[in-house]
């Protein structure tokens, strides 16, 4: 076994696991099936994690290992590249994926069919992080998408099929545009690998001209749908809110980021990539603010979290786009890039944890409405949780997302504001963090006892089931990761910096845990509390209601996609 085979293991091992789980579904029942299924999950989720630890020594040296699958010549075969980006994205995916799988074993959905789909989704995520071939990226996105539609629908909630359907429709449409863009690049260059395309484009007059610009716009818009940047976000809230909790954790934590980092590889070599990065950075800042405002207005707990995912991905995209625009080989660019990655990684941990804890709580309390559900801590206690693990885990995640030290969100948001210092995007993100604090005060109230005494006849405190050990275990695991990665933020950010590039730079202020930074955090929290009181007033509630009941239409997704695509096209064209 050679190194070039080993680096494909994060893709191949989950596929082996998936095929075993699929056999378990066809051949065995009950206990036997479960044993084979768990074995498959160990191969598909556990083994890759061990392998990533082994592979660390290579990426740590700054090595980038390239392999042509099937050993065909590079201009016709499929090229994969394993480097810092691939290692980090895989680490993120397998960590959150494993925790979510363990959670689902107790709280559903479970069964070999679920494990098969889940493992295939994980494999496609790892593949998207490694591929440097445009057609293979298309295949990865298709597999990833199809697996998610099925997993979203598997929650069997009444709206889940519709959510899955609109997700399917909009991404299938986007993938057609992706294919047309691919055709454009192929016709111009006769190549499918990123390097091949960009090197031929550089030799063409005007670097391919309008056709190259249009193709790039088509491809970027199609990928941006998966990342859910602001005008293209319409499918996400329902899909993430109605999916089973473990799937919501993976969708929000991992699957909206994998396409973004896959796009990085394309944009850094393409002519016009920097302009795309700049536009996406602007949209990212707007997304962060708009997402949190809509989140603030939500009634449903998981809808609220889903809009927060949009807002947080806005943070990530904002720094990421600025990094692409600055060029990720410059010190400023690499600092921005690593800050964005740090936030992506940390967001995966705390958002995964939020979905799991809030999901557990609302399931056991039998109520999802933020305004109605109260005293959830008592419901959890009645469901057999003597030590309030779920509540404490929720607090950890809520402190992390609102950037309270020493939890991990504090570090990654400090990195973002440090690297984006002085730009108007930084101000937008600052305003968005006020909204984050306010909305989490709103969400945390579900655990507080109600002022009015509740009569037992309302049934509100009757637990609907027992708390599952697996749920507690995976929540604890993610909470620990949130705390550890928060305390070890400085070495962590240096690690990310080293893995992403060899340029000397800094993405975090040297004194992260300093009085100056604490004061800043304190001000944000104070502002957030003020904002919370503002929205609790009568007129504040009216505004929120207006935002919540804004018209939402299925075909709005398509309007947003086509307008966004045309805008992107002209943006790149006019920037040149």
């Amino acid at each position: 076994m050679e190194l070039t085979d080993l680096i494909l293991a994060p893709v191949v091992l989950p596929l082996i696991g998936a095929s075993l789980a699929f056999c378990a579904k066809a051949f065995h029942k009950n206990d036997k099936a479960w044993k084979l299924e768990s074995f498959a999950a160990a191969i598909g989720l556990g083994l890759p994690l061990l392998l990533l630890v082994y592979l660390f020594q290579f990426v740590n040296l700054g090595q980038s290992i390239q392999v042509s699958i099937g050993r065909w010549p590079g201009n016709i075969g499929i090229l994969y590249r394993f480097d810092g980006i691939a290692w980090l994205v895989s680490l993120l995916g397998f960590t959150v994926g494993s925790a979510a799988w363990v959670y689902s074993q107790g709280s559903g959905p479970k069964g070999p069919g679920f494990t098969t789909t889940f493992l295939i989704q994980t494999a496609s995520m790892a593949a998207a992080a490694m591929t440097v071939d445009l057609f293979n990226l298309f295949v990865c996105l298709e597999v990833m998408g199809l697996a998610s539609y099925i997993l979203v629908a598997s929650s069997e909630k009444p709206g889940a099929y519709l959510a899955s359907f609109s997700y399917l429709m909009i991404s299938a449409t986007a993938m057609v545009f992706f294919l047309i863009g691919l055709l454009g690049f192929y016709k111009l260059t006769g190549s499918l690998s990123y390097e091949g395309i960009s090197s031929v484009l550089d030799s063409l007059p005007q670097k391919g001209g309008t056709m190259a610009t249009a193709s790039l716009a088509l491809i970027v818009a199609a990928v941006a749908i998966r990342v859910a940047i602001m005008p293209l976000y319409g499918w996400l809230p329902d899909a993430h809110a109605l999916a089973p909790h473990s799937i919501s954790a993976v969708l929000s934590g991992v699957l909206i980021k994998a396409p973004l980092f896959a796009l990085t590889r394309l944009l850094i070599v393409m002519p016009g990539g920097g302009d795309v990065g700049r536009l996406l950075s602007y949209t990212g800042a707007i997304t962060a603010l708009a997402g949190v405002i809509i989140a603030l207005s939500q009634k449903d707990t998981k809808q609220l979290l889903a809009y927060h995912s949009i807002s947080q991905i806005g943070y990530v995209v904002c720094a990421w786009g600025a990094a692409i625009a600055a060029g990720i080989t410059t010190p400023a660019g690499i600092a921005l890039f690593s800050a964005s990655f740090l936030h992506a990684l940390y967001h995966a941990l705390f958002k995964g944890l939020l979905f799991l804890t809030v999901g557990t709580t609302t399931d056991l309390a039998g109520e999802r409405n933020v305004y109605k559900l109260r005293n959830a801590a008592l419901s959890l206690h009645k469901a057999g949780e003597k030590v309030p693990i779920t509540f404490l885990c929720f607090l950890t995640a809520a402190f992390a997302i609102t950037a309270i030290p020493p939890f991990n969100g504090y570090a990654s948001k400090a990195a973002l504001s440090y690297t984006l210092k002085g730009s108007w995007q930084g101000l937008f993100l600052y305003a968005a963090s006020l909204g984050t604090v306010a909305s989490f005060i709103k969400l945390s109230r579900i655990y507080l006892p109600d002022k009015k005494s509740i009569s037992p006849s309302t049934g509100m405190n009757m637990p609907l089931g027992k708390i599952k050990k697996t749920a507690q275990f995976s929540q604890l695991f993610l909470a620990l990761m949130c705390i550890i990665s928060g305390i070890a933020a400085l070495p962590m950010s240096r690690l990310v910096l080293r893995l992403l590039g060899e340029v000397e730079s800094d993405s975090l202020p040297p004194y992260l845990f300093s009085v100056e930074n604490y004061t800043k955090t304190g001000l944000v929290v104070l502002g957030g509390i003020l904002l919370y009181f503002l929205i609790s007033t009568k007129s504040g509630k009216k505004v929120l209601q207006l935002i919540r009941n804004r018209p939402k239409m299925f075909h709005g997704n398509f309007v947003a996609l086509s307008l966004g695509m045309a805008f992107l096209f002209y943006w790149i064209k006019l920037s040149n």
């Binding site: 076994m1 050679e2 070039t4 085979d5 191949v12 596929l15 082996i16 095929s19 075993l20 699929f22 056999c23 579904k25 066809a26 051949f27 392999v67 699958i69 099937g70 050993r71 065909w72 201009n75 075969g77 499929i78 069919g113 789909t117 295939i120 496609s124 593949a127 057609f135 293979n136 295949v139 298709e142 597999v143 199809l146 697996a147 099925i150 629908a153 069997e156 909630k157 009444p158 709206g159 099929y161 047309i180 454009g184 016709k187 111009l188 260059t189 006769g190 190549s191 056709m211 249009a214 193709s215 088509l218 075909h555 398509f558 309007v559 086509s562 307008l563 695509m565 045309a566 096209f569």
Partner: protein, 246 residues
């Protein structure tokens, strides 16, 4: 909003979508840039020697880009298992969503529209169609066809046999369970075949028979057969389940 306003708004949106899509697509479709010849010439000169397949399509999808084919096979697998999963559960969930009971849904299931004529014809045609499917699948490397095409023909053969089984055909190919087993074993085999080159030190998804040029086409035939059986069993399984036989 009145319905007139609604229609106007809808028409406005449609025009907006069409205009912006056309604006972006026109440069791609109207380009006069000549088609690239590099890959085409490469295939013409090396396709047969590298893979042993006379059919250049096979040389691409099971040779140079076999890994993409694995991805597309997985897409099909997910589509089939997802469809069956949704069909088998959707009745209950839909009923819950609309506040109706299950019995109203099961009543709407149509009675079987089957005549003796269909029974006899499909029952007799089934084996022939299956045989043709096997041919398309096994000869994909020299003639038009291949695993995916052969698989779909096999699936139609299975559907024919399932339709005609009332008149006493003795086959288990129409049983959903058997088909599911075939599909899962084929998927496992496909993954194992993709790994076959690794012990020989030739890398993932490489042709382990490449050492001898006269044997290397065997790998293509094996891949074609596995994909054909998998596709046939998968689509056949879905159709049989939809016929209400699962």
């Amino acid at each position: 909003m009145t319905s007139g306003q609604k229609n106007f708004f809808l028409a406005f949106q449609t025009i907006l979508i069409l205009c912006s899509v056309v604006l972006v697509l026109v440069p791609v479709f109207l380009s006069t840039h000549p088609w690239p010849t590099l890959a085409r010439d490469f295939l013409e000169n090396n396709g047969f020697n590298n893979t042993g397949a006379q059919n250049q399509v096979s040389a691409i999808y099971l040779g140079y880009r076999a890994y993409d084919t694995l991805g597309e096979t997985i897409v099909l697998l997910l589509a089939v298992s997802g469809t069956i999963g949704i069909i088998s559960k959707s009745g209950i969930s839909l009923a819950r969503g609309y506040g109706e009971t299950m019995s109203e849904f099961s009543e709407s299931k149509s009675t079987l529209l089957r005549t003796d004529l269909i029974d006899v014809v499909t029952g007799k045609l089934g084996p022939i169609v299956l045989l043709f499917g096997l041919y398309v699948m096994l000869f994909g490397h020299i003639s038009p066809g291949g695993g995916f095409q052969g698989g779909v023909v096999i699936a139609s053969g299975i559907v024919f046999m399932a339709l005609g089984s009332k008149s006493g055909a003795s086959t288990r190919l129409e049983e959903a369970k058997v088909l599911a087993k075939i599909e899962s074993v084929c998927f496992l085999l496909l993954i194992l075949t993709s790994l076959a080159g690794i012990p020989m030190g030739m890398g993932y998804f490489s042709n382990p028979m490449r050492v001898d040029p006269s044997f290397q086409v065997i790998y293509i035939i094996i891949l074609n057969s596995i994909i054909g059986l998998k596709v046939g069993a998968g689509i056949g399984y879905m159709c049989v389940a939809m016929l209400g036989k699962g």
